[in-house]
Each structure stands twice: as structure tokens, then as C-alpha cells.
Point group: C3
Chain length 461, copies 3
Amino acid sequence: MNTNSSNIMALAPNTSNKRETVCIFGTGDFGRALGHKMIQSGYPVVYGSRSTQISNLIPKDAEVLSHAEAAQKAAIIIIAIQRQHYNFLTPLAEILHGKVVVDISNNLKLNQYPESNAEYLAQLLPGAKVVKAFNTVSAWALQSGALDASRQVFVCGDDAEAKQMVMNIVRALGLTPLDQGSLLAAQGIENYPLQLFPMWKFPIFLSLGLTAFFFFYCLALDVIYTYIYEKNNFSFFIAITIPNRICPVMALILLALVYLPGVLAAIIQLYRGTKYRRFPDWLDKWMLCRKQLGLIALAFASLHAVFTLVSPMRSFVRWRTSKGIISQALNNKTEPLDTTNAWLSDSYLALGILGFFFFVLVGITSLPSVSNSVNWREFRFVQSKLGYLTLILCTAHTLVYGGKWFLSPSAYRWYLPNIYMLSLVVPCTVLVVKFVLVFPCVDKPLTQIRQGWERNPKYFE
Amino acid sequence: MNTNSSNIMALAPNTSNKRETVCIFGTGDFGRALGHKMIQSGYPVVYGSRSTQISNLIPKDAEVLSHAEAAQKAAIIIIAIQRQHYNFLTPLAEILHGKVVVDISNNLKLNQYPESNAEYLAQLLPGAKVVKAFNTVSAWALQSGALDASRQVFVCGDDAEAKQMVMNIVRALGLTPLDQGSLLAAQGIENYPLQLFPMWKFPIFLSLGLTAFFFFYCLALDVIYTYIYEKNNFSFFIAITIPNRICPVMALILLALVYLPGVLAAIIQLYRGTKYRRFPDWLDKWMLCRKQLGLIALAFASLHAVFTLVSPMRSFVRWRTSKGIISQALNNKTEPLDTTNAWLSDSYLALGILGFFFFVLVGITSLPSVSNSVNWREFRFVQSKLGYLTLILCTAHTLVYGGKWFLSPSAYRWYLPNIYMLSLVVPCTVLVVKFVLVFPCVDKPLTQIRQGWERNPKYFE
Amino acid sequence: MNTNSSNIMALAPNTSNKRETVCIFGTGDFGRALGHKMIQSGYPVVYGSRSTQISNLIPKDAEVLSHAEAAQKAAIIIIAIQRQHYNFLTPLAEILHGKVVVDISNNLKLNQYPESNAEYLAQLLPGAKVVKAFNTVSAWALQSGALDASRQVFVCGDDAEAKQMVMNIVRALGLTPLDQGSLLAAQGIENYPLQLFPMWKFPIFLSLGLTAFFFFYCLALDVIYTYIYEKNNFSFFIAITIPNRICPVMALILLALVYLPGVLAAIIQLYRGTKYRRFPDWLDKWMLCRKQLGLIALAFASLHAVFTLVSPMRSFVRWRTSKGIISQALNNKTEPLDTTNAWLSDSYLALGILGFFFFVLVGITSLPSVSNSVNWREFRFVQSKLGYLTLILCTAHTLVYGGKWFLSPSAYRWYLPNIYMLSLVVPCTVLVVKFVLVFPCVDKPLTQIRQGWERNPKYFE
């Protein structure tokens, strides 16, 4: 740590306004796209290539030289070739000594090699200052200017000044550099562009599976049963009625699944009497995808809301309404207002609206920019307190909606319960256990355990 | 400023890939959690502790030594003990000289001590490079990996290189360091995690108070009055009808309260003839919570929208509709289309929809990431121009909805106006005053004053 | 690049806690506002002014001296005067040598001068370290504390340490500095606050034009035609019915216009056999405003959704419904359920809901904070795959809604098609061409071209 490196600033940005020359090794697609962009931004670009014949694909204002000559002309060398060909750089180690060498490569698979490409490059060129950058930007985006998503360029490297120089180029190209620390971060940076929503995979497959199950369950009870026993063809229920049964059920179950691992973790900690043993793997993974589960639940809840609001416009509902009114009119009687019914109808609607309102609130605080602007205490308050409030309101909404049919035999076609009854199992369990956990006699030891206390600190070593 | 500190880079990041050893003083909960996480990220960790007996709670790969020995092994010492015990560090001042000492402590109350903990530490250890960091992350979050909210770590310190070293560690742990400048910022950083939506307190209490007032007002007029004089039990109005009366009223009043301080400030400036005198304290505070007032207004407006859209599904509304149709059918007549009514109904709905649409637009630009991506001129355009348009549309919506009843005595139960009439007072006032302020003869002097002109520059000193 | 500037850190931040003195040249509005704020944040401020008489407008704790005296007292000099008067600084070049000189000026027009103000200043004072900063903050915002939008301060300059010093001041004032690289970025920074949604201009004007055209088209067909031939006064259609016809049409057309340039570009590339020739200018510009077109389309779609949901509450719709029911009741008959109709009604509603759902999803990923947190592959997946899914669903929604009338002569008033028929032209074209482009025999050469392959690499030079 006490190295007397007084010359570490030797590479400090040139104070003259002229951009320094950049050298690019490799005239492939990405090399050319980057060169084009750099020339546009005012950098003299020189290409290092095996064959120095000038191809029309290379930007006009760029020079093409041999690798050695090109490298000598610039302080920054961008390696736009694939990792398999890196060993051709070994003879150039002398020339590249002390230069900033930028690794922009990507792999085809996650963790394809034991070490990252940038670290491999650093091993090949021990004297060079290797910086990882630009791998998250696509050639297509660079050329077309369609940089909406990918303005962020992750930069890492062991040499602070080299990193700073590369970050200045990144900024000059209109991109946003993000310093990710030392070259150890390169592995993560190289894996990053290969991911396709990795945290979403399990929640999405779970949702699709449950949705399919509930769809066929509803299809059997609502369409096939009606067709067999009542001779009614309600196949059009597939379009709105059945989706609007599945959506609220999925929303409620997934929302409960967000809070279930928390109470499971609390039970495990209480049982073990310590927080210093790892949870089972499945529980760890479950806890890490709670945000995704919650957002999918919110999507289902939103669909449920729209499907419900649209119902007065449905041909079937209008037909049913007018049939009811006409039969009253033909019988010459007006039914009086049923206050109990009005109470039930209004309160389940109100509970649903409030539940959805708080659900959306919790969802908004999941937006990265909002959750970054609240502190840990505020985030916990919203995600935990408001989240549980949402769960309580949505469970109550379902209970008030269908409670009266729990004991009515006619609600059980083929002796099977309706799906909203199934959907209540998980949330009610979570709420009951949580209610128990909130009691002081349970909450106090749990809090102590979470602050580091241990019941049996016997297994000292 | 002209210090010749050519050795200030002595602490430059090591260019070898090995992580440097980190020392943690204190084996409490947070110290252990941090140590665990650092070992996971590849840092050798050594604990400084009074008793060097190896506890099973301490991460297995960590060493435990006496404070002095531990400190000598590392360039960075993290102080994971409480401020009250800081004075035990005084004898170690010699050893800590020139080292990076990281203060991670939090207090229990806002501004608990005259100076921040980090500044106090810097006074105790004049030779150490004190950096404040990590206080916004909770031990629980570190251990469970549930770092959704708290990826941001505020870092401040007087020594640039020491700060850089700490920020590199923060990045290596998968967190985002935010440089907050010199150690003077430590007070703010220590207060930050203790806050629970401080800017929201007044707007929320104001909304709750007003909501309670309007609730009992409506309860009296809509439920109790009807029960006494018309013998109708409309108690179920509590669920939807009354909330749907309160929400639009609250939305309109709060939205007007967003723009009221602006016109008050303009009047004060015009009266005083200068902008160089401070506004009264209450006005300053009011102006600072306008964003929160506006967002709460938007929440009420959203609830109003959903409560309204849900109405055709309400049992009561369906009963009332069918009663009307049946009575027409029984009387054998069909009422013709009332075009005036159709105009009124359609235009108040359209005004409401447009008002809500612009309200949501203004709300979206309040999202931190959106408001950060617009410049001052664009932000002013949206917040001021579109905001006033929203206020005008919502006020017109209310006027068209209820205007015809202003002069009808039957609208005044117990001689009290309906709440939507009350809700119009503030917005109409704001709009009228704003309208006057826009006139050139008023606007011109106001603009001059805001550009720094003074009517009576007499009170020279 | 190999300059041995070991004294470049001479300006390193003072390690004592006292803030360094800041000098401000110019006692105008912004100079005073900045001085006020700096004194509040603990900086000693000294003003440089032609007349050193103490004006009451200048903050009380500030000193006022001649320019030369003031500059000597501080290491940082903020130039709060207009560019036209910069040449008065030439005689001070000696004194400002080696100092940090901050240019905070703005222009009145975009690209008013050939070089940026900051670069002009750097030419006048070759020995000074010029930093551009603070120009995006307004004096009014600084004084009133209303810094919601403008916390970001863009900083650029050629000297890293000078920039760091200015960024520390920016942080101390409670603002967020954003390093924009070298002084070459000053032109962009000076243009930034003058913009008013530059990328939105074309999409907004296009939408307004199309909306106006469709409004008069609908007015003619729905109101005037009905009035002339059917003697019905449906003028109230202007409030909701016509807007609710225009909104979906606009949403569909604009959404298709988002994807049209992409297929045009593919066709051009296929025809040319290379991707290395620039697209025509109009296509480039079109591609750059696709995000804005899409968001405006989403706004229209949202309005369409609300206008539709509100319809059961409309006076006209309730009158029409009850008329239908009464006529059935009076004729003593009940129409049976029309299953085909139920299927059509439910499926176009369901298609619309799903289309809108995915549209909102795509819209949410356009939020800056969300699109920054996904990688290029994920962004492409959402914007392209989900975007096309949205387009397909919305087109299908329109086809199912109105398909049955395409061949019915009564749908053509004055031999003109209804606007939803017009709206189908662009999306259907896009979908058909895209469908062709997806075929392997077309997709393969296109992919090759996009990876850099050329059909006729003949025009070598």
C-alpha cells in the first residue's frame, strides 16, 4: 500500500483540446462500427490489421497499418478481435508495455472460460494497463444511433488513470461510463449482455404453469359442466370470463408467495434459535425472486381490474341484465333494494379497489429510480407494511366476494371447489402465521435472534 | 490550496489482482455481516477484538487479533463499534496514523450529537484518513442479499484516495457508492437512514385531517339526513358513494394547494417590490412540499377514477337503473333523448378524463429518473403549464358536473352546501389570481423583480 | 501522453475541514444567487466587481473587492458575467494563471457562437484551468430551493483536478455533479438548457395534424351526415364519441409508424446488399424518434381505454340501452343470447385488453431507470418482440371489432370508409412485410448483411 508511485498520473488527460489518437486492432464489424463512431466524435483512429490493404468498409478517415506500427501511434489500443486469437498479441507485448489496452470482447455462453477475457488478456500482456469496456454496446446500436437502452458502458480495470482515459472516450461517444472497480469485475461484465431476465425465469414459469392448471380447471367447471348438464354453450367464456377468474386467483396466490418465504424464514430462525446458519437453498432462491413474483402478481391484478371494468360492455352481460329487467317488467313488479346485497357488493368492490391501490403504490416503489431515492427504513415500510396491508385487503376482497357460497352445495360442481376458494389457502396461511409471529411472546425472541443473539451458543469450536 | 502533496497518491489501488486485507474493529452483528460479505467477495478479513478467542459467530476464514495487531495488517480499518466506545481508539492513534479508517456508525436520533460520528472520529485520530460509509446498509440486508433498496452507499471523506479505496470495496460487494464530498457531509449521511418520509409528513396529516372532516360531513348529509327525513337506510354509502365524493374533492383541493403558494409568493414579491427578502417560514415550507401534495392529489384522483368506473357494477346502481327502466316500461312510454343532458354528461366526463390524463403526465415527470432526464425549461413547462391546464380542466369538470345545482335549494340539506361546492373555493381563487397575474401590466413588473430588479433600492447600508 | 506532471495534484482537496474561499466575478442575479447558496453551505465568498461599493443585494457575509484583488484571494473563480464582456478578463490573465476558472454562462440561442463560451474563455486565459458548470441550474431554483428537476449539474473541463474541485462544491450545495469529460463537451452543455423537448417536436406535430384531419373526417360522417340525412342532432358526439374514435385510430397508426422504419431499413439493406451506406436522412430521423412516437401512441391508447370504460355512464348510452330494453318489454318478447355476438364482443374486448397490457409493459421499460437496468438483449426483446406482439394484438382487436362491416355498403357514408378502416392500412402493411422478412430465405441474407457481409464488395478504391 505504501508504494511511492509519484508517476501514476503520467497518463493524465491531455490539457490541449485535441483528441488523442485511438488504435483499434481488428477490422471486423464491431471494430469498424466503433471506429466510425470515434471518428465522428473527433478522434483520429488508426487500425492495426494483418493485411494493410485499404478496404472500403473501413471508415475513410482512418489509417490502416500493421499491428506494431498502429500500436506505436496511440496510447490506447482497443482489441476488437475474438479471445481465441489473443495469443497473436504475445509478440507485441513489448510495444504494448505501459499502454492502455481495452478489452471489448464478449463470450457466447455464461462463464465460458475459467477466467474473464480481460483477465486473460492481462496475463498475456503483463506490462499493459488492461481495461474492460464497451462489451455491453452492440455494433448495430453504435451505428444506428439507437442507443436508448445501452447508453451504459461498464468499465473496469486495475489502473485508475487508464480507466479514466477510457471513461473519457465513452463520454465523448455520448455514452455513460459506469466504473465497476478492478479487473475482477470483468467476469460479471462479460456475463451481463448474455442474460435474458435471469431473475424472471422461475417466477414466469411458475405463473405459466399455474395459469394453465387453473385454465383447464375453469374450462371443465364453467364450460364443459354447463354444456353437459345445462345444455348451454358458454364457450365464449374463454375470452373474458375465465381469464377474469384466473387473474385475481393468480394475483392473490403470487402475492401470498411473496410473503410466505419471510414467515418460513422466521419459523426456521425461531426453531434453530440462531440466524447464523444458512437457509435451505430453495428458500434463499425464493427470497431473491420475491420482487419478480410481486410484479407478476401486480400484472395479474391489473388485468383483473381491466377485465372487470370492461364487463358492463360485454354482449353477454348486457343480455343478462336486460333479461332480468324485462322479466321484472313483464311480471309487473319491481324488486325492492336489498340493503345486505348492496353492502356486500359495495364493500367487496371497495376492498378490491383499496387493495389494488396499495398494490400499485408498492409496485411504484419497485421502480429502480424510486427505490434508490428512499432509505432502507422507508423501503421496508412500503414493502413490508404496505405489502401486508395489500395482502389483507385482497384476501378480504376475495372472502367478501365469495364467502357466502362456501357452505352452499350448489357452488361445488363435480364436488370440486371454485378456484377462488383454492386461491385463499396460501394467503390465509400466511396471514395467520404472520399474526402469530407478531405476538410479543414470539416477536421478542425473533427480534433478538435477528440482532445476533443465539439460543444455544454451545457449538463453539 | 498550494500544498505540495506529491505523495497523496501513495494509497493508489494496488495493480495486482489480489484484494487487499481489510481490518474490522468490533465483532458485533454488523461487523460480522460485513466481514462475511467481504470474505465472499474475495477480501482477506482480520478482526480486531478485545478477546481474541475465536467465536463461532465470526466468519471461519477471518483472523481474530488484538486491535493493534489487526490494524497493522491492513490499510483499511472499519470501525464497527458504537460511538460511545470510540475513545478506546485514542491509544491506537499511532498505529492508525496514515491508515484509512471507515466510520460506519449510525445514531438513534436525528442530530443526536453536535458533530457527526465521523467528524468526532477524525478529531480523535488526527492522523487517520477518516471515511464515512456503509451506514445506510443494514446487516440483515447484507446477509440475506435482499439489497433491492439499499444498493446505494453514501461515501464521504476529506482524502480523495482513501475515499476511492473505500468506493472500490463498496463496488466489489455489489453495491453502488455515491461520493458525497468532504467529511462535512457525514452529518447528513448519518441522519439519512433515520428518516421516514420526512417531506411527506405534513401533506399526509393534512390529507388525513381533511378526509376525516369531509367524511363526517358527507355521513351527516348523505346517510343521517336521508335516514331521518326520508327513512332510507343508505348506510352502505360508506363503502363507495361517500369515498367517491371525498376523493375528487380532496384531489381538487390538494391540487389547488400545490399552486396556491406560487401565487401567494408572486403577490408578496409584487407588494414588497423585491425578491431579496425571505418569504415567511410557513410559505417556504409549503413550497417545499408541493410535489408531495401533488402526488397525494394524484392518488385521490386515481381512486376517484376507479370508484367511478366501478359504479355500473354496483348492486345499488343496477337496482336504480332497472327501477327507472321498469317504471318507463310499465307506464308504456319511452323518454326521448335529452340532448342538453347528453351534452352535460359527456362534457363533464370528457373534461374529467382529460384532466386526469394530464395529471398522470405531470405525475410521471415527477419520477426521479424522468425528471433527471429533462432540463429545467422542460420541467417548468410540464410542472407549471401542464399543471395549470390540469387544474383548469379539473375545476371545469367539477363546475359542469354540479353547476346546475348551485342555485337549487334542494341541494342544500340542513342549509349546508354539498362538498363539491366547498372544494371549488380554493381552485377558483387560485385560477382567478393567476389570471390577474398573467396580465402584462402585472406580469412585467413581476418578471423584472424575479430577474433581480428592485422597486425601492433605498435601504442601502 | 508521457508528460511527467508530478505536481498535477497540487490542487488536491484540502484535508482540513474548512471550506476554501470562492471568488465570484459579477454581481448580477445569478452571481448573487450562487453566492448566497455558497455562503449557506459554508464557503467564504468574495466578489470581484468594477465598483466595490457594497450593495445591499450582495449577501451580507461576502466581501466585495476589485477583480484583481478578489481573484488573488481564491483558487476558484466563478465567472458570472455574459460572454460579450469576457474580454475584460484579458488583463487579468496573469493573476488567473493556474487558477480554476468556472464558466457558468448560457446563450440565448442554440449554437449561437462557433465555439462554446467555455472554450472561448479558455482561449482568452490560456493559463487558467477552465471548467464548465452550473449553467443548467436557474438562479430562481437556487434561491427558492425548488431543486426538484435540476439537481444535475453537468461539469466538463480538461483538468481533472480542477473538475474535481468544482464537483466537490456542486455536491456541497446539495446538487449532483455529472462529469461530461473534456471541455469539448461544453457546446452540448450550453445547448442543453435551451432545448424544449427537441425529440418530441416532430411526433407531436404529426399527431396533432393527423388528429385534426380525423376529427373533421369524423365530424362530417358522424355529426353532419346524421344531421342532414337522419335529422338527428348528435353534436354532443364531439365530447366523447368522436374522441373515442380518433384515439384508437391514432394509437394504432402511430404504433405502426414505430415499426415501419425498421422494415423499410431492412428492405433498403436487402436491396443494396450492404449495411455500409447511410440511410436517407428522413429515415435516420424517423428511426431516432420511434420512442417518442410509441409513447404518444400509448397516450392515445390510454385515452381510448378510459373513454371506452366510461361509456356505460354516459347519458346517451344509458338512454339507448333503456330504449332497447323497453321496446323488448313492450313487445313482450325476450331476445335469446346470440352466441356469435357474445364471441365477437368478448374476443375484441379481450384482444384490446391484452394489447393494451403489453403496450403498457413496453412503455414501462422506456422509463429511463428501467431501461438502464436491462441489458441490450433484454431491451431488444421487450421493444421488438413484445412491441410486435402489441401491434398484432391491436390490429386484431380492430379487425375483430369492425371486420363484419367491411363489405356492408351501409358502413360507407358518402362512399367514404370509416376511420378505423383507414387506420388498418399502415399496421397491416407493416405486419405483412415483417412476416415476409421473417422467412428464412429472406432473414438469412439480412442477418449476414447486418453482421457486415456485402453482396457486391466491388467498389473498392
